[in-house]
Structure formats: C-alpha cells, structure tokens
C-alpha cells in the first residue's frame, strides 16, 4: 500500500470517489453536494467524475433526502444522503429513527437498508447553538442504526467506505474542525468495519476514551502527562454504535482508571453509556470513579471566548486525568 499525507476531508473524499467507482449502486444526494461539492468540500469532484445521475443537488428538504435514501436502499441501492450539519438531524429525525433504523425489524427482517448518512458535527468555529452540536448520544440510542465518528484522516476514508459497504443504515459524522488536519492515508481502497475501536496510544496508568476530535486533544494531553510521568492509553471507539466495549474494558482492566472525553454536553452524552459499561464490566478493577470531560449543560455559545471555555481541550483533559490518577 502506498501511503501519503492527506487532509481529513480529502481522505473522506477519496474514499467516496473510490467506493463510487467500484460500485455503480452507490449514489449521493444532498444540498449543494453536486455543483458546489458540499459546503465543506466533502464532495468535491464527484459530480465531474460520476455525473448528474449519481450526484444530485436536492431542495432543502431533509425529510425527503433521508426518506429517499430509505426507499432507494430498500430497493437495493446504496444511497449516500448528506445532512450538511449534524444540527439538522432534528428536521429529519423521524426518517432516521422511525423509518431507516426500524424498517428491517418491523418487516421481520425481510428487507435491508444499506443507507449511509453523512454529516458534519462539532464546534470550535463560532457557529453558535444551531451549527455546533454533537448529537451522537441520540443516534447511538437508536436500535438498527450505526454511528461512525472518524478521528483521523485514515479513519475518515476507512469509515466512509465501511459505512457504505455496511448493509445497515449508518451515519458518518465528520468533525468540522478536523477537516484540514493531515494524516497518513493509503492510496488504495480500504474499509474499516463498524464496531472496531482503535487503540490510538498504549499506556498503563489511565485509559482515556475519546470521541472524534477529542482524540486529538487527548493525544496532546497524553504527551504533557507523559512528561509528568503519567502513562496514558487512548482508545478511540471510532463507532459509538456499535460500541467496542471489549477493547475499552480490556484497557481499563489494565490501567484501572478511565476518563471519557467528548464534545457533547456531559448530561446524557455517550460518555454516560461508556462510563456505565466500564463500571458494570470492570468494577473490581477501578481505582477511581470513571470520570467524564465534556461540555457543560448549555447550548453552544457564539463568542469565541465562551466557546473555548465550553469545549473540552487538552488542558482540561490533563487536569482531570491528574485528579483521577492522584486518587488511585
């Protein structure tokens, strides 16, 4: 495999190009995904390469966008339906959770819905309360759906391909602030299957389970902590549904301490589920309570100063890890 550095968004884009080239049943619809290539460049070049039959701009109609994907998927195509901002799940939620996710089950298994939804989540751009959210906890609570959250260029490519090839409805949440981040990406087509966590970094004193861009912040924190003599293991679940509990629990049984980090508000976030599963499965191994680092219980603020205080970062993560380790 030839590997070179690509940005997160380019890697995603390349995965989409390759999987569309390989499978004529894959098509893409969404607002401004064709002529404009998506407001985040996620879909650059696809219209040119695959033409207007397979790459289509839609009206602003998210219920119809997702619903169209459900119907086309039930007929055996592999639609990719873009939702632009994750904050827009609210206008399409019924089609996501009552239709896409439940169709197979309600029909007693008689149909599969190999639909992929793409979207962009996360904060850090002063985009305020309706354009900065991380709502993965909602999606992970929906039986029938899978939820991928790439945290590197490598994963952005592998997870979009894995999602499209998965026979279930899957949502891939790209992180807006990571779009330009570079990382090594093989040229060839490859898929990362849903449900396989990534051990980003090995360590022995504490396990950090970090979601999406928080993997980057956790990695920074780990470097600082290493200098202080604290050895951090970082697990990126990659998909929050299914969740690779085994990998997480194995790690915590080794380190005896866990800190979970995500951008979403803490209350009811995916960290709560991960924390619960850790203490259910590794109670006797824990030297300290499982800790969470996440946003406070408020909408996302516009002011950069407030937003900086709102979003978890390396410093907050490191501080929490110190507290957890100090306790052990």
């Amino acid at each position: 495999m030839t590997t070179r550095e690509l940005t997160y968004v380019k890697a995603f884009n390349e995965g989409l190009h390759q999987v569309m080239a390989a499978d004529p049943d894959v098509f893409l619809i969404g607002e401004d995904v064709a002529g404009y290539g998506g407001v985040f460049h996620m879909f650059d070049g696809l219209l040119t390469e695959f033409g207007p039959k397979r790459v289509k701009d839609t009206p602003i109609a998210e219920q119809a966008i997702i619903g169209l994907g459900v119907g086309a998927a039930a007929r055996g195509l592999r639609p990719v339906c873009d939702l632009m901002f994750m904050d827009f799940v609210g206008v399409a939620m019924d089609q996501i959770f009552n239709q896409a996710a439940k169709m197979k089950y309600m029909f007693g298994g008689g149909v599969s819905v190999p639909l992929t939804i793409t979207t962009a989540g996360g904060g850090g751009m002063s985009a305020a309360a309706q354009h900065s959210q991380s709502l993965e906890a909602w999606l992970a609570h929906i039986p029938g759906l899978k939820v991928a959250m790439p945290a590197s260029a490598y994963d952005a490519k592998g997870l979009i391909v894995g999602a499209i090839r998965d026979d279930n409805p899957t949502i891939v949440v790209m992180n807006k602030k990571m779009l330009g981040m570079k990382g090594p990406v093989p040229e060839e087509l490859y898929a990362i299957p849903m449900g396989q966590a990534n051990v980003v970094r090995e360590g022995s004193d504490v396990t950090i389970v970090a979601i999406a861009r928080m993997v980057v912040e956790a990695t920074k924190a780990a470097a600082t902590l290493e200098a202080e003599g604290i050895s951090v293991e970082i697990i990126d679940p990659r998909t929050v549904q299914p969740l690779d509990t085994d990998t997480i629990v194995t790690s915590v049984k080794k380190t005896n301490r866990a800190v979970i980090v995500h951008e979403a508000v803490e209350f009811g976030g995916i960290g709560a589920e991960i924390s619960s599963q850790i203490q259910e499965a590794a109670f006797d191994y824990l030297d300290a309570p499982v800790a969470r680092v996440a946003a406070p219980f408020s909408p996302s603020p516009y002011s950069p100063i407030l937003e900086n205080a709102y979003m978890p970062d390396a410093a907050r993560i490191a501080a929490r890890v110190r507290a957890v380790v100090g306790r052990g």
Partner: protein, 340 residues
C-alpha cells in the same frame, strides 16, 4: 338504470362510461375489493372480541382506491402505505394467511409478529410497508421511484396517504423532490374527509386536495374514490405519464371510511352524522361495480355472490391457520435488528 344518490352522484352504468370494461376486469376488481372488505370486517371483529391484539385502522369503504390503483401495478412496482394499510397490502397481492398471522403476532406472519397491523407488508410484492407515522411513507416511496429511474427498469412507485397527511411536512418535501426530478410515482391521497376525528374543513382551507399539485408543478386529478373503474382510469394515465418520464401525478380520491378511525365502533364522540355515513354507504364501491357488471351482462349475480362466499371461506381458513401458528420465541428477541 341510473340512480342519483343523496350526495348527488350518478350511481350505476352511465352513458359512454367505461365502455371497454371487460368481464375479466370486473371479476378481478370485484374480487379485489371483496377480499379487502371481508378481511377488514373479520379483523375488526377479532380485535374487538379480544381474540387478536393491537390497534386496527380499517379500510372498509375505501376499497376502490387501493384496488383500482393496484390493478395497474405489477409486483415490481413499489408501494408505501399508511396506518390504514391492510387494504393496500391485499390489493398489492398480500395473502390472507400471513396477513392474519401477522395480526395475531405469529412467526408465520409477514413480519414474523414483529410489525403487526401498522407495519404489515410483503416486500416480495413490492410493498415497502404500512407506516404508523403519518406521512412517513411518502418520502420512502419517492426513494423507490428514484431507484426505478436510476435503474431505468420501467417500474413505478405509488404512495398512499390520507387527507390529513397532506398537511404534514414530509408530504410537501417528498412531492416537491419527486416533481423536481420527474420521478415515476403516483401520489394517491385517500380523502375520506377526516383526519382521525377532525373534519377536512378544520384542517385545511381547500375543498380539493388535488389543487396542492400546483405547488409542485405537477398535475392534480380528482377522482370518485367509490368508483373503482374511475380510479383505475386515472391510475392508468398517471402510470403512463410516469413511465414516459414526465414525473409524478397527485391523485385525490374522494372516499369514506365506514367504520371508526380505529376499530369498527370505537367512536366515543359523535364527530360525524349517521346520515353522512349512510349517504356514503349508499354509494358503496362494491355495490356499484356489481350494478355495472350485471346490467352490462358481464357477470351474473350468482358469480358475484360466489366471490363473496369463496372469499369468506378463504378468510376463515386463514384465521384458523393464523391461530394455530407458532408464537415467536423470546429468545430470538434481538433478531432482525441488524443485517449481519
């Protein structure tokens, strides 16, 4: 002999009307409607007697709509339905045994007991299911029509929904998208005058919902939903249009449900006049077709009567089958959530 009903609608064979109707067509449409009528009446009674679980939204009175439209579709054409979905399923080719078995929640049911009345469907017959969310099926049918266009396989899609459903956002978004892309789809509004217990006049300011088609730049057609031949005729035209690549048609079929919104007589507050119900029953779609068939000497009264009794017998047999079918095993409770 032509009669005029209380509602002022011509009833009976009309001059120059459906001149090309054949004996075979009359028999097929009649059997189709009778199958729905009797299925629903039995199902309704079984739930009300406590023999069967669940909620049932019965289609009795509206049989001509599903039957007329579906008579021009093939198994490869896809269809989405509503909470009131049994009639659509039967018209699309669903069989009594797995239908009843589903209502009884048995493993032999179309959904292996997982779906029940509000999710019933036979994917092999091109049914993307009943749907318990008002408007939920409309975008899905658009997706099926998209697949037809994408594959160029000459199939079409049809989506059924009520008058009430045309007020919900999903309807608007889906019809507009199908229109923009000239998708091969029929949008069939079954206007029975009520959304649950709310009369049309209280949920919109229009008389003819077909007028909404203008918002999407597509044709809208009003049809007498008690006249299966008329319904069939508009469906034929809409399918032709769809196959020719000219896009969707919005068909409004004026019809009526004889029973309550849910069940046969769950009505605890009189939200409509007995006289209104009676007037519609007078225009019964099955009776009308029998008048046409006999007056034109295409089908005898005896033959019609035989269809009723044969269907009744089939149903009783299917109910027995369903009753005797095995219950699902709770050990399998996580099956069918994901494709693995």
């Amino acid at each position: 002999m032509t009669q005029t009903t209380a509602l002022g609608v011509q009833y009976g064979p009309r001059e120059g009307y459906a001149d090309d109707v054949t004996r075979e067509l009359v028999l097929e449409l009649h059997r189709g409607m009778v199958r729905i009528r009797l299925f629903e009446e039995h199902a309704g009674k079984l739930v009300e007697s406590g023999d069967m679980p669940g909620f049932l939204h019965l289609y009795v009175g509206e049989e001509a709509v599903a039957t007329g439209v579906m008579s021009v579709l093939t198994d490869a054409d896809q269809m989405t339905s509503t909470h009131r979905g049994h009639g659509h399923a039967i018209a699309k080719g669903a069989q009594f045994r797995p239908m009843f078995a589903e209502l009884y929640g048995k493993t032999t049911g179309y959904c292996k007991g997982r779906g029940g009345s509000m999710h019933i469907g036979d994917t092999n017959k091109g049914m993307l299911g009943a749907n318990a969310i008002v408007g939920g099926g409309i975008p899905i049918a658009v997706g099926a029509a998209f697949a037809s266009q994408y594959r160029g396989d000459g199939t079409v899609a049809a989506s059924f929904f009520g008058d009430g459903a045309t007020n919900i956002g999903a309807f608007h978004e889906a019809v507009n998208m199908a229109a923009v892309w000239d998708l091969p789809i029929l949008f069939i509004c079954e206007n029975n005058g009520y959304a649950e217990f709310t009369a049309q006049g209280n949920h919109m300011k229009l008389e003819d919902i077909a007028e909404r088609a203008a918002s999407y730049g597509i044709p809208g057609v009003v049809v007498d939903g008690m006249d299966v031949l008329a319904v069939r005729a508009v469906a034929v035209a809409a399918v032709e249009r769809a196959k020719a690549g000219h896009g969707p048609t919005l068909i409004e079929a004026k019809t009526y449900r004889y029973f309550d919104h849910q069940g046969i007589k769950g009505m605890r507050i009189p939200y409509r006049d007995a006289a209104e119900v009676e007037a519609w029953r007078e225009r019964d779609a099955i009776k009308l077709l029998e008048v046409i068939g006999t007056e034109r000497d295409l089908v005898s009264a005896k033959e019609f009567a035989d269809i009723w009794s044969q269907t009744e017998a089939e149903i009783l047999e299917a109910i027995e089958f369903a009753r005797n079918s095995p219950e699902p095993d709770p050990a399998d409770i996580l099956d069918d959530v994901y494709t693995v």
